[in-house]
């Protein structure tokens, strides 16, 4: 009941594939949707929010479907990537006017609108016309509109686009806060190092298909055809490399660019860690051992390829 569920969902635009045979269950927390242009991220988000209807299958959000809008849209908030706004409105009027459709009293509407505007840090600009807003301000007012009715499922299509570094950091903090409150926060992003910062889990898409889903480390563990890359910080990287080369677990070992460590690629991480412990007992001072390729960027490159644009 508390999940976003895709049950064999396909969407075709005429003969053009949007997404195909999506079988997915997204738990609460912050989930990032990653994939190149045209991979189906926005289609997937529009399907969740009922802006598109699946050609096949069904989408259920916390037990609700868009065909029952009076309940569904009290639970779901969606900030789309579309940069359109009703003409002539100020930021405050924009948030207020759509809140009125929820049936809140005028006093509650104004209070909730200001609360959302404060959360995105736009209080000073709220009485001004949206037509005069920068791209970043438009992004934030859309976010305020999406969260104003306090949804428990928040869908955000490229929400960090156009934000300056400070606003980015504040917005990421807001996403994490919402995730901790037990909400679903589903974000599409093409900035992969931010995906690591933001997400509890990722959904990776390519050409209309989901190619991987789950926690990034879990996804990395399942990529068996790419040896695990491990960075060992130590005092004698050359000696350690010579020792490790003799072991069958090690596929590759090279000195790190700064000379203070060793990058090792291995197909059997567990036995490799035991081996390193054994070597450490024989005179090598090891400062740290950490996986070097279990971030979103590496996983993305392994699964989808670095040549494709991630937007």
């Amino acid at each position: 009941m508390n999940e976003i569920l895709f049950d064999n969902v396909s969407k075709f635009y005429g003969e053009v594939l949007g997404v195909n045979k999506i079988q997915l269950s997204i738990p609460p927390g912050v989930t990032s949707l990653v994939g190149p242009n045209g991979s189906g991220k926005t289609t997937l988000m529009n399907l969740i929010a009922g802006l598109l209807r699946p050609t096949q299958g069904r989408v259920v959000v916390c037990g609700l479907q868009p065909s029952d809008p009076e309940k569904f849209f009290r639970t779901v908030g969606y900030a789309t990537q579309y940069d359109g706004f009703p003409r002539g409105l100020t930021g405050l009027q924009f948030v207020e006017c759509y809140l009125r459709l929820f049936g809140f009293s005028p006093a509650d509407t104004t209070h909730m609108a200001w609360e959302a505007i404060d959360r995105v840090g736009l209080r000073d600009a709220a009485p001004r016309k949206i037509a005069g807003y920068s791209k970043g301000m438009r992004q934030r007012i859309k976010l305020a509109q999406a969260i104003a009715h306090r949804p428990t499922v928040l869908v955000l299509d490229e929400p960090l686009n156009g934000l300056d570094p400070l606003a980015r950091a504040e917005t990421i903090a807001l996403f994490r806060e919402l995730g901790k409150e037990g909400s679903h926060v589903l974000i599409s992003s093409h900035i992969l190092h931010e995906v690591d910062l933001i997400s509890d889990q990722v959904v990776m898409m390519s050409q209309g298909y989901v190619v991987a889903e789950g926690q990034i480390r879990g996804v990395r563990d399942e990529i068996l055809d790419q040896p695990m890359q491990i960075l060992i910080r130590c005092d004698k990287p050359g000696y350690l490399a010579a020792r490790l080369f003799q072991q069958e677990e090690v596929v590759e070992a090279r000195i790190h660019a700064d000379g203070g460590g060793l990058l090792v690629r291995t197909r059997r991480a567990e036995s490799f860690y035991k081996l390193v412990n054994h070597i450490a007992l024989n005179g090598v001072q090891i400062e740290s051992i950490a996986p070097a390729d279990d971030d979103a960027q590496s996983v993305y490159e392994y699964l989808i390829g670095s040549g494709e644009s991630t937007k």
């Binding site: 929010a49 802006l51 849209f73 789309t80 940069d83 002539g88 759509y98 929820f102």
Partner: protein, 275 residues
């Protein structure tokens, strides 16, 4: 107040401001008020000694039937009602409504009522202004007896009612076209031709139009130009319907078209890239 009523009021509040105050809609005011200029000219610069009340009643009826119903209200409703959905698609702002807890039927009703309110205010008030402009120069005693003892008041009310029903009829059709078609101007052109040739259509087909019923509501028949010309067919209604029947049929037609449009709104998907 029930939720759907509050939602309709909220939709009207958003859309009425857009319809009344939009710069894009200025031409609709021009269409509605255009007849006032010649009527005031007739009042201010015409030779008042030559003016006959009966003649001016015919002039008003001619302008109302040929310009006001067929052009001003027709195109005014194209501008107002087609933009209710299609304009928001072009502005990429329709999705805000579709992401609110509003049933699509309620959204359609709210948008239709806001369009209708704007159209009725603009076009019915223009009827009153035109009527005053044309008749104000007659002596007060003559006007008093024309309005209160003669047919003046009932004629004015009939014109207002016909204008309002024209807004309902054309409004429903163009709202449907805006929901149904990506380029609603093509169906609008087809409807314009259909309404234009209504006078030469067989009796049964005539009734599948809006102008036929509206002509039946006009209180003053236009004199036949004589001969067998096509103008004769446009002016003379061989088989006019009683006003009550015309009103009911227009309302039924609007209800049917709006129901169809409401069913269609359930299928609306947002793909602005394809617009």
């Amino acid at each position: 107040m029930t939720l759907w009523r509050r939602q309709i009021l909220a939709i009207m509040r958003i859309d009425l401001a857009k319809t009344f105050l939009s710069r894009r809609g200025l031409w609709i005011y021009f269409l509605a008020l255009a007849p006032v200029v010649p009527m005031m000219g007739h009042w201010m610069f015409g030779n008042k000694g030559d003016h006959q009340l009966g003649e001016d009643v015919q002039i008003f009826a001619g302008i109302f039937q040929f310009y006001y119903l067929r052009i001003a209200i027709f195109f005014g409703c194209v501008g107002i009602f087609m933009n209710l959905f299609r304009g928001e698609m072009l502005d990429k702002s329709l999705h805000y409504y579709l992401l609110a807890p509003v049933r699509r039927e309620v959204l359609l009703a709210g948008k239709f009522l806001s369009g209708l309110t704007a159209a009725i205010v603009i076009f019915c008030s223009s009827v009153v202004i035109q009527w005053i402009s044309l008749f104000a120069h007659f002596p007060p005693e003559l006007m008093r007896s024309f309005i209160f003892a003669g047919p003046g008041m009932s004629q004015l009310l009939s014109y207002i009612a016909a204008a309002a029903l024209a807004c309902i009829g054309y409004g429903s059709v163009f709202l449907w076209a805006g929901v149904r078609y990506r380029n609603p101007l093509i169906p609008a052109a087809i409807i314009l031709v259909w309404e234009g040739i209504n006078g030469i259509l067989p009796a049964l087909l005539k009734k599948l139009s809006i102008i036929y019923w509206l002509k039946s509501l006009c209180p003053v028949s236009l004199p036949s130009p004589g001969g067998n010309g096509i103008l004769n067919l446009l002016v003379v209604d061989i088989d006019p319907a009683p006003a009550a029947i015309a009103t009911i049929n227009l309302l039924l037609l609007a209800a049917f078209v709006l129901t169809w449009a409401a069913m269609r709104t359930r299928k609306i998907e947002i793909s602005y890239g394809a617009e």
